[in-house]
Symmetry: D2
Subunit: 364 residues, 4 copies
C-alpha cells in the first residue's frame, strides 16, 4: 500500500481523501534558488476548479493552496516542499446512502476488496478525482523547474462526447472553458454536454498534450523510457483508459515507409514518433493523447449491489461533473510536467559529468 | 542512466546489447521453493525466436538460456536468479555502413544525443528489440510465480497491416505463427506480409493481452495503480506506441450509462473496465491492447543524414522482420506477467498482515 | 535532493523546517483496519518534547499532532497517513545574527555549499533536530503495526558525558527523565549535565535499543540486510556518529570461538550477534547501540567564520539542550520501528506466498 | 526478497552463490565515454583474492572478470555494465556434511527460516563472503567514475586480533599483505594470525576507510544522508558489526567544545566530524571505521544443532581464512566508492540545474 510516490530525483508523494481533513503533496527534488509562491501554484490549481458552467459540479471548493516548507523568503531551498489544501465544502451526508453500495464504474468494490472492508466511502475517499488537486499543485512546482529550461506543456480537449476537434488553435484553448483548440468543435461539444445533463448521463473524450522545448536526451532505457514513465503517470489519473504517443494506435495501420520520420540536415521532416525515439526525447515536440472515460456518477438508474449482495437500481444524485473533461486537462499537464522535470534532472546528472562540471570551491 | 530495473518486490534488471557478448536478466523476489529449470524458461524464450516464415529475419540466434544462480537442485531459493543468453549469430559487419548514419524510426539519433556520442551502433545496441529476449526469460520466472495462484496470461495479434481480427479463438492462437485468434484474419495478414516483403516495407499491428484468474485487490493507488504499472511495462517495449485497457479509446466515445459495468449478485455484467477499477484489479479478466508500430528497418529508400549532417538515401539491407508482430507477442505476455507477479506479492504482504499470518517457529 | 523518503512497503516521507510553518510526515503502507488516533501518536511525540529539567531547551513547542488522512472512523484505511505538526513557539529573531555565520559542528556550511546559498538559516532549517518530531509521529504508526505481531522496541541511555550505565533495569527507564536503565549512573549523569550547563558546554552519549519479539526471517540480503537498513535509519538521525549491532566494535577484539553464539536444542546460548545473522533476524532480541555526539550549540566561544570568510569568536545564546540525549531516545525507537515494520511486511509477502495464502472471494 | 540492488543513479545489482555457476553484477548509471577494461576491474578484484599467506584459504579462485555489456571499443556507453565471474575451484563435497547443520555465527539458521528451508548450503550459498567479489568489480567501475573528479578511496587495517595500529603510513599499506598502515603493528598482527591458526580459531579487527578529494555538497538529507548511505553500504558487508564516522563512538565521550571542528578563513581546523556535517560532505577527508567480526568458521569444536534439533559438536574443516581482514579491505573500498559515485551524480544533477547547464544542440 505504498505506491503514492512518483519520480526518482523530482519526486512527488500525495496523501488525502475527498472528504477528509486535507489533501497534501510533498515535492522532493525541486532545485534551490527558484522563485515560488502560493499564488503561482494557486493559479495552476484554479485551472482545475469547477467553473460556473453547465455540467460542472456545484461543489465549490476554494482549494486554497498552502506552502508549508521548502520555500524561504520567496525562494525554493532544495528541501521538500510540503503543500496542503484543506477540504472545506464537504457535504458528506449525501454519501451516507452510498456507504454500503458499490457504484458501477467506481472503485468502491475494488477498494472494499483490497483494503479488507476499511474505506472512507465519502466521495470515493482516496479514489476520488479530488486527489488530483495536489497533483496539479505539485505539477506547478515542476512547471517552475521546466520554465528555466524553456520547456512548456499544454493540454487540450480534442474529443468530447464523440465530437472531434480538427483544428489545433492553441490560442483558442484559453478562450473556452473546455480547453478545446477548435471553436466549431467546442460549440458542438457544448451541445453534447447539455444533452447529457438533460439525460442525466455523462461523456468521455480525448485530451492531447504537447510538450515543447524538450531537449534531446531525456528518458532512461530500457524500463524508464520517457514514454513509459509518461504513460504510467497519465494512466495513474483516475479516468484515463488509454495513452498513445505520436501516431499512436494509428501507427498500427501504417507501413514503415509511412510511419518513419525522415531526417534532413535541418531536422526531422515530420513527427509521427511524437518526439520520442527508443525511449529518449528527440528534441521534437512531444505529443501524447489520453482516452478519458465518461464520469461513472450518473443520474440514470444503474443495476448494482450492496455489501450484502442485494441487487438494486442506483440513481446517483450528489454533485458531479458531466465529464472529467475539462477539469482533467490541468491534471494531464501536471503529470507530464512532473515526468519531464524528473527526467530533466536525471539527464542533467550525466550531462554534468560528461562536461566534468566543477563543484564550487568555497576556499578559493 | 539507471532505469534498467522494473518492479518493487518482484524486480527485473536487464543488461546487454544486440551484438555484445551476452544479454542478461537478474530476477529478484521470486519466492523460494518453486521448481524452475532452464527448459521451462527456454520454452518461453523459444516463442520469441524467429521462425521459418516469410517476413522473419534469417538471423537465427539459438538463444540458449543459462541459469547462473538462484536455483538449487531444481528449486528456487529466494535469492536473485541470474539468467544469461549469449549472442552467437552476430554479423556486425552489416552494420559497419550504419556506424555514422541515423536510421529513421530508430533510436540512433537519440542514443547519440543522450550518451554523448558513445554508442554500440551494431544492430541498434541496447535499443535493439533483441534486448527483449531476457525480458521473456524473466517473464517465464513470473509465469512460474503466477501459476501457483492460477493466474494465466495470453497475448495475441488482433490487427496486422490493417487487417483486424474479429474472433477471439484462443485455441487457434497456437495453430498459427502470428498468434492470431481468427483464422480468416490470419490468412489475410499473411497476404499483407507477403506484399510488404515484396515492397521492402514493414507493417504495424495491435496485440491484445488477457490475464485470467487475477484476484481482486492487486494495484497500489494512486501512482502504482495496476493499469499504470502495466502501461509503463508495455510502453517500455520498443515498438509500442499506445496502450489501452478495457474499452480504452472507445470509452472516450461512450456515455457513462454505456461504459459503466453493471453489477449483479453474481458479479459484473460486462467488462468494459478491462478488469481494473480505480487502479485495482476487480477479479474480472484483465484486458489490454498495445499499438505496435511498423519495424523501422525497411529496404525502401529513406531520406536521412549522417553524423556530419550530410543528407543521403538509406536502404537498409541487413536481416529484419517485416513486423514486430508476432515476436513481440511473448514480450507483451512477459511484461504483463512481471507486473502481475510484483503486485501479487505486494498485495500478499497486506493480506498476510490482515490475517495476522503467523511466522514459523523453529523452537516449537 | 530527493532522499526524504525511507522504506519500501512501509514508507515514510518527511518535510518541514525548524522555523517554517509546519513539519509533516506521510506514512505509506500502514495496513488497513488498525485503530489509530491522534492521542496514540501524541503520546509518542510527547516523549520527545523538552521537559522541565535542567539542560533542556525552554523552547516549549506544544507539538500538537494532526492526522490529515488515512484514518477513518478511528481505523486506518490502508491509504497514506498524512501527519502534521505546526510550529508555534518560533523565535526566529534569535537566529538573525546567525544568518551569515557557519556554526561549528552544525550543517550551516554544508547546506550553504549544497543548496547554492539558499537556505532557511532559522534554527538550522531542515537540518534541525526538530525534524525528528515527525519521525517520531511516523514511528508511532509503525509501533501500531508491530504491536499486532507482539514486537516491542525500547531505547535507553547507556552513556552520557562519560558516565556509563552498567545495569539494564528496563523498569527504571520510565522513572527518570534521561531514559537511563541504571539509577546510580542516572544520578551521575545528572551531575555531568549540571556541570556542562555551568560551563556552557554540551555532552555526548550512547543510546542502546532493544527490539523484542521479532520473528526469525526479517531482512533482505544482500544490500537490504536488516542491520544495513537499521544502520541507515539510525545514521540518518542528526547527532548519530556510529552504529553497532550486538557485540559491535567489541567483536573486533574477539576470537571466533568467543564471538560465535553456540546453539542448543532450545535456542541460541548467547546473543553477541545482536539478533541478526547474515542480514536476517534470528528470532533473538535485536540489540543496537548508537553514538550520539554532543550538541554543537554551546555558549563557550568558538572560532568560526562568516559568509565573507571573516574569522570571529562565536557564542551561541539561543535555547538549546545540553545533550541530544534524552530527546533522541524516542527518535531512535521510531527509526528502528519504521525499519522493522517495513521488513515485517516485506517478509510477510513471501511467507504468504509460501503458504499460498488465499485471496478473499466476494462472490462465494 | 528483493534487496539485491543499491544506489539511485549509480546502481549496482548483484547475483550469485558461493558454489553456483557464477557470480555477477549489473552496474547501471556509469556515464558514457569512460575508458574501462576487464584488466582495470581485474586489478581491483585481485586485491581481494586470497594470497599465499598463512591464515588465508587455499581455495584459489582465479576470479576472472568478464565484461558482458555496456563497454564498446574500450569505452563505456552509458548502458548497464554486466560483469561476470565464473566459479571454478568449487569443492562442494566438503559441505555435504554441513547440509543439515547450522554453523554458529553463520547465516545457516536464518536463511533456513527466511527461505522456508530452500537454500544452497554449499559454502554458505548467497550469504558467503564470496558474493563480495562482484561488489569489488562494481566498485572498480565506481572508481573509474570518481577518478574523473579526483576522488580517491583507500581502506586499511587499523586493528586485528586486538593489535591496534597507531600510525597511518599510507605508503606502507601496499607493502604488506594485511593492508596495515603501521609496520610495527603489522608484525604483531602476523603473530596473532599464527597463533590463531595454531589454535584453530579466528580473529576480528577494524578497518578504516578514507575518501579524499570529495567535494562539499554530497549527501541527500534527511534519510539519504551521506553517512546514512555509507553506513548501509558498509553494514551490508557480511562480517561488519559496527560503523562509525569521524570521532565516532569516541564523540560520545566528548564535550561540544572538544568535538566541534572550529573553522578558520582557510578551512576547518580539525576533522572530528569525519568530513560530513548534517549528512552532507564538507570537502574535508571522509573517514569511517568498520568493526569486523572474527570469521565464524573455526576448527575448534562448537556446540550447535542440526535440522532435526539434535545437538552436536561441530569442527569446521574446509578452507577458510583466519580473518575477514585483509580480504574485506577492498570490499570496504568498493562499497564506499559505490556510494560516493551515486551521490556525486545525484548532486551533479542539481549543480547542473543551478548553473542552467545547456544541452548540446545537434542542429546548431
Amino acid at each position: 500500500m505504498s505506491g503514492n510516490s512518483f519520480g526518482v530525483l523530482f519526486r512527488v508523494t500525495t496523501f488525502g481523501e475527498s472528504h477528509g481533513k486535507a489533501l497534501g503533496a510533498v515535492v522532493e527534488g525541486c532545485p534551490p534558488g527558484l522563485t515560488l509562491s502560493e499564488e503561482y501554484i494557486q493559479k495552476e490549481v484554479d485551472k482545475r476548479r469547477s467553473k460556473e458552467f453547465i455540467g460542472q459540479t456545484p461543489r465549490k471548493e476554494k482549494d486554497r493552496v498552502e506552502i508549508l516548507s521548502g520555500v524561504f523568503e520567496g525562494y525554493t531551498t532544495g528541501t521538500p516542499i510540503g503543500i496542503l489544501v484543506y477540504n472545506t465544502d464537504v457535504k458528506s451526508s449525501a454519501y451516507q446512502q452510498l456507504k454500503e453500495v458499490f457504484r458501477p464504474g467506481h472503485a468502491d468494490f475494488t477498494y472494499h476488496m483490497k483494503y479488507g472492508g476499511f474505506r472512507d466511502y465519502r466521495g470515493g475517499g482516496r479514489s476520488s478525482g479530488r486527489e488530483t488537486v495536489v497533483r496539479v499543485a505539485a505539477g506547478a512546482v515542476a512547471k517552475r523547474v521546466l520554465e528555466e529550461y524553456g520547456i512548456s506543456v499544454v493540454a487540450y480537449t480534442i474529443a468530447l462526447g464523440g465530437v472531434v476537434a480538427e483544428k489545433r488553435d492553441l490560442e483558442f484553448i484559453y478562450q473556452n472553458h473546455l480547453y478545446c483548440p477548435d471553436e466549431e468543435a467546442y460549440l458542438k461539444m457544448c451541445q453534447k454536454i447539455e444533452e447529457a445533463v438533460r439525460e442525466g448521463d455523462s461523456l468521455g473524450g480525448v485530451v492531447e498534450v504537447l510538450a515543447r522545448g524538450v531537449p534531446a536526451g531525456l528518458g532512461e532505457p530500457v524500463f524508464d523510457k520517457l514514454e513509459a514513465d509518461l504513460s504510467k503517470g497519465l494512466m495513474s489519473i483516475g479516468a484515463v483508459k488509454g495513452v498513445e504517443v505520436g501516431a499512436g494506435f494509428k501507427a498500427a495501420q501504417l507501413k514503415g515507409s509511412e510511419n518513419n520520420d525522415p531526417i534532413s540536415s535541418h531536422g526531422f521532416l515530420k513527427n509521427d514518433a511524437g518526439g520520442i525515439l527508443g525511449g529518449i526525447s528527440s528534441g521534437q515536440d512531444i505529443v501524447l493523447r489520453v482516452a478519458v472515460k465518461p464520469i461513472p456518477s450518473i443520474r440514470k438508474p444503474q443495476k448494482t449491489i450492496n455489501l450484502q449482495k442485494e441487487e438494486l437500481d442506483l440513481i446517483i444524485e450528489g454533485r458531479h461533473d458531466v465529464s472529467a473533461i475539462p477539469r482533467i486537462v490541468p491534471v494531464v499537464e501536471a503529470m507530464v510536467r512532473i515526468v519531464l522535470a524528473d527526467h530533466l534532472l536525471r539527464q542533467l546528472a550525466y550531462l554534468a559529468f560528461q562536461q566534468r562540471l566543477r563543484f564550487p570551491n568555497f576556499w578559493g
